[in-house]
Structure formats: structure tokens, C-alpha cells
């Protein structure tokens, strides 16, 4: 099999190579049946191979043309690909920001991007210059600086990257910014938000707002600018100094919600308002067009009340698994064998795993592996005292994590294991409310049925 050629493989790749054409060339494709197609050769992005050449026609449409051994490809010209010009500003005149300063730290997600209109490829960027042109409304709330720490897909995020992020955010706070915004892919944002919350829980003077986009920023309907503006509003003006996730509060472009990082969970695969606070009210409602922040949970840690204290560092060998009706015992055993030092299990209902896994739990404790329990029902509190299974689990040494989210539990165990080895100390820290991740009371209204009517 020949090497890939601009996304093409096999016969097509060799035909294109032979003809000496590359994407951007105007080509004519003449087929054995006499038919002829003329257009600009496009790179092939889909992972489906197939004997097709992708052409862009003069009217802007792409089509796929089937080729075979009898096809002749000829280059007849090339498109003058203009140099990227000066991007057109969305507002006229100079920006006049207030005196607040906000640092935007880029850690992924396509919160700001440009589109290549030929290929449809989205190129993320996060320079202040470009932001000022494409999201000028940010400057309404603060003078903005930006730095890209890394650009990874949500699913490629690792605890070691949390640590780099903590350093970068801490640096900005030390330099006197009034708040920090972190842009991040949405899928694992709740984990990162929790990690930051634990790293800064001993002392945080300003708000940290994580934000992202559920619709990528190359589209006119993207939620990126709305969310980013809301996050900058929180970072620059919120009265609280907490780690939050600031994202759409409803499907419309009206208000965002600021969720406590340790309480938030992505509850929908695609909606703008996918993020919800679990077992806790959101911290505030944020109206980015109206410069308004409406506090919902008044028990917050106030801005400017604490000096910065950073406790960075996360343990990489922590797993998060979920009980299932099959052989859960073997999964726990395997994790212990593989040298994991902490396991968070989403148990059934009150937090149970099957009775045949109790032995595996006991073995984990003997090997010094911390096992912590949250519930896979998402809402509600773990309680291992109600049924005998739970009591056996307690006897086997598991740590029932009250009403903590799985994301917060995972990040916390990773953080705790980086600074405590003794299982009793691990247990003590895990059950101590450090950043608002545990609460004792759940009013009725915290949980609502999504009945769809």
C-alpha cells in the first residue's frame, strides 16, 4: 500500500502523483466513459477511502468523482491563493476597555478559530490581536491578555496538563490580573475545573472561569463568543473568587450560568446548555449582553479576601470506573494489578458494587489502593449504611464520597494521592469539604425531572 497523498490512498493517490497535481491545482478529470470534470483539486478528509477525487467547482460546491485505471488527470492551472489579509474588525474605532484586566489562558477547545473556506478545516487561534478583531465585546468588560498553554482535544487531557495549567493561572494571578479565563474543550472541562478548584482551595483572591463552545467558533451560530464574553464578565466583575465553569444557561443566547467547578457536569452531548450543577445550585446567572451578574448561591468565597496559595500536583495513577452487571471484580483486580493507586467507582444507586467484588475491594485496601465511591445516578448522595452490601463495602475500606460528582471525586483523589499515601489520611482528606464539593443538605428543588413536557 502506497503512502497517503493529501488524504488520498491507493489508486487515487497514485493517479494524482502520476499527474503531478496537488490540492489547489485546477484539474480536468477525463474518464474512460468519456465524461469530463473540471475543478480545483481538494484534499480528502473523510477517513472512508473509496476511489473518489474531490473537486471544488467554480460555484463553490464540492463533488466526488469516481476514477479508475482508465482515468486521465491533467493539470490545467492553479488557483491564486491569496495571502491571508488583515482580518476585518467587527467594530470600528479603537477599543476602550475599563481598567480591569483579565488573562485568557488557552487550554484547548475551538473557542476562537478561523475557517479555511476551501477545506472546511478549522484553525484555532488565541492571540490578543485576533481576539480583539473577532470578539471585540470582551473589551467592554476588561483589558484582555491571552496566552495559549497547549491546544489539546478534550479527550486527550491528562492530569499532568492540569498541573501546567495551574502554574499558568497562578502566574497570571501573581501578576495582578483581576480574573482568569481558561478556554477548554467541553467534554472534560468538569474534571479540569475540579482539579483547579482543589489546587487553589487554600487561597484564591480572584475568580477563575473555565469556558468553551458546544458549537465550534467557525459557525455564525457558535456559542463561543457568548460564553467567552460571559466568562470575561465573571472574571472581571464577579464578587466571588472561586473556580467556575461559565457556559450557556439555556438553549437561547440570553444568560449563562456560572457553576462551581467542583459541582458541574456536562449532562448533554451537544446542547449549548449541557452543563448543570449537580446536587447544588449554580453560583450565579450571568447576562453577557447586559453586564449583569445575578448571584444565586450567596455562600461564596469573596473576591480579594484571600491571598493566593497554590497546592499543585496530581497523581496520574487514578482510575474512574462504573459498576455494571457483569464481572466488576476482575476490573478492580486488573486495576490493582496495573499499579493504580486510587479507584473511583460509580456504584449503583446508593453506591453499591456486587457482593462478589467485595473480595477485590479488600485486596485493593491490602495493596494500599484507595477506593472511593460515588453514585452512577448522578443526583443524590451515596449511602452505604442502608443495605448489607454497602456495609460489607464499608468493612472492606471504601470511602463513600457523600454527594460528590464523579469528576470532582476523580480530580480530588488524584490531588489527594499526590500529597498523602496513608489510606487513613487519604480518607480524611477525601471526606473533608475543601472547595464546596460536599454539601450536607439538598433542598427539594435541587432536582427536577426532565419529563419533556
Amino acid at each position: 500500500m502506497q503512502a497517503e497523498y493529501h488524504g488520498y490512498t491507493g489508486l487515487v493517490a497514485s493517479l494524482l502523483r502520476k499527474a503531478g497535481v496537488k490540492p489547489g491545482d485546477v484539474i480536468v478529470v477525463r474518464r474512460g466513459d468519456g465524461s469530463e470534470f473540471r475543478g480545483v483539486l481538494m484534499p480528502r478528509y473523510s477517513l472512508s477511502p473509496g476511489p473518489f477525487i474531490v473537486l471544488k467547482l467554480p460555484n463553490g460546491y464540492n463533488i466526488g468523482v469516481r476514477v479508475d485505471e482508465s482515468t486521465v488527470i491533467e493539470k490545467v492551472g492553479s488557483v491564486e491563493r491569496g495571502k491571508p489579509g488583515e482580518p476585518m474588525p467587527l467594530v470600528e474605532g479603537p477599543l476602550k476597555p475599563p481598567r480591569e484586566r483579565v488573562m485568557i489562558v488557552g487550554a484547548g477547545g475551538t473557542v476562537a478559530s478561523r475557517i479555511d473556506y476551501e477545506t472546511g478545516a478549522v484553525k484555532p487561534y488565541l492571540s490578543v490581536d485576533e481576539l480583539s478583531l473577532s470578539v471585540p465585546e470582551l473589551w467592554r468588560y476588561a483589558d484582555i491578555d491571552a496566552v495559549q498553554v497547549f491546544q489539546v482535544l478534550s479527550e486527550d487531557m491528562k492530569p499532568s496538563m492540569w498541573a501546567r495549567l495551574v502554574d499558568e493561572v497562578a502566574k497570571a494571578i501573581e501578576r495582578g490580573y483581576d480574573g482568569v479565563v481558561v478556554t477548554h474543550g467541553t467534554d472534560t472541562m468538569a474534571f479540569t475545573a475540579s482539579a483547579l478548584a482543589f489546587a487553589f482551595h487554600r487561597g484564591l483572591p480572584v475568580p477563575i472561569a473555565l469556558t468553551g463552545a458546544q458549537r465550534s467558533s467557525d459557525r455564525p451560530s457558535s456559542d463561543a463568543a457568548f460564553n467567552l464574553t460571559a466568562a470575561v464578565l465573571v472574571a472581571s466583575r464577579a464578587p466571588f473568587a472561586e473556580v467556575t465553569v461559565v457556559m450557556h444557561g439555556e438553549t437561547g443566547d440570553t444568560y449563562a450560568l456560572a457553576h462551581r467547578g467542583v459541582r458541574v457536569k456536562k449532562m448533554h452531548s451537544s446542547r449549548r446548555d449541557a452543563f448543570q450543577s449537580i446536587n447544588s445550585p449554580p453560583l450565579a446567572k450571568v447576562w453577557p449582553y447586559d453586564a449583569r451578574i445575578e448571584i444565586i448561591d450567596k455562600r461564596f468565597r469573596g473576591r480579594g479576601k484571600e491571598d493566593l496559595v497554590v497546592e499543585n500536583g496530581f497523581h496520574e495513577r487514578v482510575a474512574l470506573i462504573k459498576h455494571f452487571p457483569g464481572d466488576i471484580a476482575s476490573v478492580i483486580d486488573a486495576l490493582v494489578d496495573k499499579g493504580f493507586k486510587g479507584i473511583v467507582i460509580e456504584g449503583t444507586g446508593f453506591g453499591h458494587v456486587s457482593n462478589d467484588a467485595i473480595k477485590s475491594l479488600e485486596r485493593a485496601r491490602e495493596e494500599g489502593v484507595a477506593v472511593a465511591i460515588v453514585t452512577q445516578t448522578i443526583f443524590g448522595r451515596v449511602n452505604l449504611n442502608v443495605y448489607s452490601t454497602g456495609r460489607r463495602m464499608l468493612a472492606a475500606g471504601v470511602i463513600p464520597l457523600e454527594d460528590m460528582t464523579a469528576e470532582a471525586a476523580y480530580a480530588k483523589l488524584s490531588w489527594v494521592l499526590a500529597r498523602a499515601e496513608d489510606l487513613d489520611e487519604v480518607r480524611r482528606l477525601m471526606l473533608t469539604n475543601l472547595a464546596g464539593e460536599i454539601s450536607g443538605r439538598h433542598p427539594l428543588r435541587l432536582y427536577r425531572h426532565a419529563t419533556g413536557v
Binding site: S35, F37, Y45, S46, S48, G50, F52, V54, L57, P58, N59, G60, Y61, N62, I63, G64, V65, R66, G82, P84, G85, E86, P87, M88, L90, V91, R114, I115, D116, Y117, E118, T119, G120, V122, S134, R215, S217, D218, R219, P220, S221, S222, A225, F226, E250, T251, G252, D253, T254, S270, R271, R272
Partner: protein, 643 residues
């Protein structure tokens, strides 16, 4: 038309058509919602759209302008007819294969070259009519042709795309859209710009519409087919006219656009003749007339000034009379300037000197304005705008810009068709930069399976279909042609087939193409009667529950009372068919009354008897039954009198 009939061929008129037709598929193009409209209300949400930038940093100026105005779109999402896909809360599902198959069938019928792999593209549209900010669209075939009146009209492209949301209205900065229509599959057929006369444009549209109907897989009714026209004349420019909904309007729209381009060229020549130059236009400066006009009788000006706004004016040297020139019926050149000012600057309108005195502005006001602007009322024109200062200033800049374009000729524009066959400025013609790949949908190979499926929908050539109706159902040629041209073609054929042996095909066909069309004469719209009610009427006729002659009357009643059921109509009209016994009774009576005449005229009295009988029984008894009984009764009388 003013200026007499234009010689279209001499003017080098070129028209291309883009026919958009909704497909009658089970569900929408990119989701599983039903592809139909609804009266249901739904959830409401507000959104905004942002201009996006291309690699080259281009932003569609119209898009930018809409955004700066802070446009808010209020979407109404009926839950049975829209889902997360229409709400832009979920990526599109794979393309609807049924829609693809129908489009491929049309491509086959037009002899087009089918692409081997369909690539869905995004076409940027940020007027809010698409929640995503773009329309998803894909080419399925290239080339082909259709013959119309002996001329070969080349087809350029065949496209499947999603229909836009339905605009419900506008309220200040807020525009309301309903999501039921968003995502209904459309086929778009674009012809080459080879059409040379207004009439020919209509005939081509008719021919394509007929072909589409013959697939049996397209929707019908107002709004289900829309024609866009590209019109240019030699020395003019390509104008794209959007959304002509009625076929009959096509010739008029073309005529008006040709006229507009002719007039714009005349205005250009006149401007040049009078010595207007780009430099002269560049030198024009707006002047603040607020204090000068604060005491004006004009209500608009008084209102704006009271609200803290400004009145700005600009002198248009050497242009007296040009703004008042008519460019199409009821539209002056000044109106074209006003359209630009409204669109680009967001003002309510402009006032120009060729329409003054008027709008509360007196001759004395005019003289004072002219003095302030340094203009001569004998030679120059002027434009004034009342709005907040920023917009007013921008509006005048736009007016000057439009005049500079006028000095060059006809600007390329997208215009909207109005009900009276005129058009108005919508936006500049979009650049090609607004099309890019829909990365959420993988390319769809056109497989053998798909082509097989498409073959089921390939429409026969209309002449063959007429032939078939004649030979299969014994319809006259005229009737068969009328059926093929009828919007309800498919329903008619289905019902002919359904009632075969019980109702003659010519009766069923005639009910639709003669009886129903005849109802227009009664001032009702037969197209508005739902198909199921028409089918029900024929069902009652077939069962013998109502007379054949009553069908039209029932349809008329339903057209006038849209809520009424067919049963209700039958009862209200007293059309319940009489049985043989009752008919006998009525005829007994008539024959008794006419006995002497019958004896005198013999068999020829039939006409007289039938006349009386039908006057009493029309619609309540089958004519043939009445005739049969009448004939027997007459013979009985004659036999009796002969004895």
C-alpha cells in the same frame, strides 16, 4: 408599460432560472422530523448570529451589518415538527436517501451527469432563516437539458438542499422564525442563462415544474415551489431575484427587471452627459440641517428631532429630476437609493428633492435647504435623512456610494420579488467565499442501490404520460393534457385508478380540471380545498350517496366554509341523494302536470319533462336515472292515451 414594448432580443436579455421545489419525503433532509408545516405552537428561544471570517479575513458586509445592528432571532420550535437538529443543538444526521433518490431521478430524466459522491456544503446565510447560520446544500448532478417549445435549455446543476425557517414577522430588532419548514428537502434545478424573453422564462418554469410533478414525489401548494431568476441585459448586470412564488408572475418580474436595467443605463448616460463624475460625488459632504428644519411641519422630522436625532442633508449636484425617474412601475430611482440607505444604514427612509414639496416639507423649506446646501433648485437635487446622527451620516454616505455605482451602470444585486411583480433591493450578491464543506456529514457515495431506488421515481416525458392517460383511461387528449398540467396530477391518477369500474376516468379527471377550476369563477380558491376532502366527495359519488352533478356544489361549499366536513356540506346543501322511489314520485307528479303536453308532443316531450325534473332534482338524483324513469313514464302516458 411606459416607454412601450421592449425588444428583448435586441436588448440582449439573458435569463436563467433556479427552480426550488419541496420534495414530498417521509422526513426532513437531515433529521427524522416530518417534512411538513404545522399550526402547532412550540418552545420559543432567542439567538444571535455572528459574522464568521474566512481565511482571507473576509466578512460578508451584510452579515456584519446585521450583527452590528444587534439583530435577535426568535425561533418558534413546534415539538412535533422540529428537534435538536433544527434548533442547532445537535449535529445533522446523514442525508435523507429518499430525497437523494428523488433528485437523482430528476437528474436521470434531464440526462444530467450524476456525481459519484455527494458532498454536503454549508452556504453562509445569516439573516436568521437558518439557525446554524448556513444552509446545507449539495450538488447531485451536472449538465443535462430540457426541451421547451423546440429549444434546448441546458441545465447547469441539480442540487438538494434544506429549506429555510419560515419568517413569521419582525418587531424592532427581533425577527420571528418558525422551525417547521427548516430542513424540508428541496431540489434546486438551475438552467443556463439562455432564456431570451419573459414569456419563455415562464414556459421553461412550467416545463420543469411539470417534470418534477411527474415524479409523484414533490409537494404542492403555495410556497412549495419558488423560482429565483437571474436577469441581465447587454451592458447591464446579473441581478438575482429571489422568491417568485407564482408562475404567472415570472414574465412580469422579468419585464420589470429588464426595464429597470434599461432605465438605470439611461440614468447613467444622463449623469455623464450632465458632467457628474466620481470625483464630484466623492467631494460631497453632509450638512446638519437640524436647527434649520426644527420648525418644519414634517411629522417625521419633528419626531426625530424631539427624540434628540438629527436631520442631515447632502446636495446632489446636476441631478435634478433624476431621482424622480421611474425605474419600474411605481418605483423611482430615489426609491433605489432609499432601499440602500435602509439596508446599509438602518434608517427608515430618505427624502429627496424630486418628491418635494411633500411630506410636510414646503417650497419655502426647500429653498432654505437648498441655500444651506449651496444647491440650485433649478439644477441640483438633494437628499435629507432624519435619524440619530450616526445612522443619518451613514445613510448619506450610502446614498453617495449608490450614486457612484449608478455612474458605472447597473450594480450586481440580490433583489426580492414582490407580489405585484416588482422587486426591491435585498442585499449585494454574495461572494463565492461563503461556501465551505459541512464537516459533520461524511460524503455519501452514489451507490448502485441508490440509483436503483432512484429509477422508481424517474418521471416519464410528459407527452408519453398524456399518451398513457389517453390509451389507458380513454381520456380525450385535451383532458389528459390538463391532468398532466394539474398540480394534483398524482391525486387525480390515484383516484381514477381507485374508482375504476365505478366512476368513469373522464368524470374523475373532469371533476378536477373542469369542475374545480370552474369554481374560481365563483370567487373561491379550489387549491385551498384539502385533498382528503376532495377524495371523500368522489367516494360519496362512487357509492351513489350523492349525485355526480353534486360534486362541484359540495366542493364550492367547502371552499367557502373551510372548517366544514364533506358530510356537513352534503346535509347543509340538502344533497343527500334520493332513492329510485322518491325520484319516481317526483316524476309522477311532473308527468301528471304535463300530461296534455306529452300527449301533444309525443316522445319529443322528453326535453320538457327532463327540464322540469332536473330543476327539482339536480344534485339530488343521478341524471341518468331521472332520464330512464322519465322516458318510461312518457311512454306509459303515450301508451295510455293511445288506447
Amino acid at each position: 408599460m411606459a416607454g412601450g414594448k421592449l425588444d428583448y432580443r435586441a436588448l440582449g436579455v439573458k435569463v436563467g432560472l433556479e427552480i426550488h421545489q419541496q420534495l414530498d419525503t417521509r422526513h426532513k433532509l437531515f433529521c427524522e422530523c416530518p417534512a411538513e408545516l404545522t399550526d402547532d405552537e412550540g418552545d420559543v428561544f432567542l439567538r444571535r448570529l455572528r459574522p464568521t471570517r474566512s481565511e482571507l479575513g473576509d466578512v460578508d458586509p451584510a452579515a456584519l451589518f446585521e450583527w452590528r445592528r444587534g439583530r435577535v432571532y426568535r425561533y418558534h420550535a413546534p415539538p412535533g415538527h422540529s428537534c435538536l437538529v433544527e434548533a442547532d443543538e445537535e449535529p445533522p444526521h446523514p442525508i435523507n436517501r429518499e430525497a437523494l433518490a428523488i433528485a437523482l431521478a430528476v437528474a436521470m430524466a434531464l440526462g444530467s451527469t450524476i456525481v459519484d459522491e455527494v458532498h454536503v456544503m454549508r452556504k453562509t446565510v445569516i439573516d436568521g432563516s437558518n439557525t446554524s447560520g448556513f444552509q446545507r446544500t449539495a450538488i447531485v448532478a451536472l449538465g443535462g437539458s430540457i426541451e421547451v417549445d423546440g429549444k434546448r435549455i441546458p441545465i447547469e446543476t441539480i442540487v438538494v438542499e434544506e429549506d429555510a425557517a419560515r419568517k413569521l414577522g419582525e418587531e424592532g430588532r427581533v425577527v420571528d422564525y418558525k422551525l417547521d419548514r427548516l430542513g424540508i428537502p428541496l431540489i434546486e434545478i438551475a438552467t443556463a442563462p439562455v432564456i431570451e424573453t419573459p414569456e419563455e422564462a415562464k414556459n421553461v418554469a412550467l416545463a420543469i415544474g411539470r417534470l418534477l410533478r411527474l415524479t409523484g414525489k414533490v409537494k404542492r401548494g403555495i410556497g412549495t415551489i419558488r423560482q429565483d431568476l437571474n436577469v441581465s441585459i447587454r451592458g447591464g448586470a446579473k441581478t438575482e431575484i429571489k422568491g417568485v412564488q407564482k408562475l404567472e408572475l415570472i414574465p412580469k418580474v422579468v419585464e420589470n427587471e429588464v426595464l429597470r436595467q434599461v432605465r438605470l443605463l439611461e440614468i447613467r448616460d444622463e449623469m455623464r452627459r450632465r458632467g457628474v463624475t466620481q470625483e464630484l460625488l466623492d467631494s460631497l459632504k453632509p450638512v446638519d440641517l437640524t436647527s434649520l428644519l426644527s420648525g418644519s411641519k414634517s411629522r417625521v422630522i419633528r419626531r426625530v428631532v424631539k427624540a434628540g436625532g438629527k436631520v442631515l442633508g447632502v446636495k446632489l449636484p446636476l441631478m435634478k429630476g433624476l431621482l424622480g425617474r421611474e425605474v419600474m412601475p411605481g418605483r423611482r430611482f430615489g426609491g433605489e437609493l432609499a432601499d440602500y440607505a435602509r439596508f446599509w444604514a438602518g434608517v427608515e427612509g430618505i427624502i429627496h428633492s424630486d418628491e418635494l414639496p411633500g411630506y410636510g416639507i414646503t417650497r419655502e423649506d426647500m429653498e432654505r435647504i437648498a441655500e444651506a446646501l449651496g444647491a440650485s433648485l433649478e439644477r441640483d437635487a438633494f437628499v435629507i435623512v432624519a435619524s440619530d446622527e450616526e445612522r443619518a451620516r451613514r445613510a448619506l454616505e450610502v446614498v453617495i456610494w449608490r450614486l457612484k455605482l449608478a455612474l458605472e451602470g447597473v450594480p450586481e444585486e440580490t433583489r426580492a420579488a414582490l407580489e405585484d411583480g416588482t422587486t426591491r433591493y435585498m442585499r449585494p450578491r454574495p461572494g463565492s467565499a461563503r461556501m465551505y464543506p459541512e464537516t459533520d456529514i461524511p460524503p455519501e457515495p452514489v451507490t448502485e442501490d441508490l440509483l436503483e431506488e432512484a429509477k422508481r421515481y424517474v418521471p416519464e416525458p410528459p407527452s408519453k404520460v398524456v399518451e398513457g392517460l389517453v390509451s389507458r383511461y380513454g381520456l380525450s387528449r385535451d383532458l389528459a393534457e390538463a391532468v398532466v398540467d394539474d398540480e394534483r396530477y398524482k391525486l387525480i391518477v390515484d383516484l381514477i385508478e381507485k374508482y375504476r369500474g365505478r366512476l368513469e376516468p373522464s368524470y374523475v379527471a373532469g371533476f378536477f380540471v373542469v369542475t374545480l377550476r370552474g369554481l374560481r369563477g365563483e370567487g373561491v380558491d379550489p387549491d385551498a380545498i384539502p385533498d382528503d376532502k376532495l377524495a371523500e366527495i368522489l367516494d360519496l359519488v362512487a357509492r351513489g350517496d350523492v349525485a355526480r352533478e353534486a360534486a362541484g356544489e359540495i366542493a364550492l361549499y367547502i371552499a367557502r366554509n373551510p372548517g366544514a366536513s364533506v358530510r356537513e356540506a352534503v346535509e347543509k346543501l340538502g344533497l343527500k341523494k334520493l332513492g329510485r322511489e322518491e325520484v319516481e314520485k317526483v316524476l309522477d307528479e311532473i308527468v301528471r302536470e304535463l300530461r296534455d303536453e306529452i300527449v301533444k308532443r309525443g316522445e319529443r316531450a322528453m326535453g320538457l319533462v327532463m327540464g322540469r325534473a332536473m330543476a327539482k332534482l339536480r344534485g339530488r338524483a343521478d341524471g341518468r336515472l331521472v332520464a330512464e324513469i322519465a322516458r318510461r313514464k312518457i311512454r306509459e302516458v303515450l301508451a295510455g292515451s293511445a288506447q
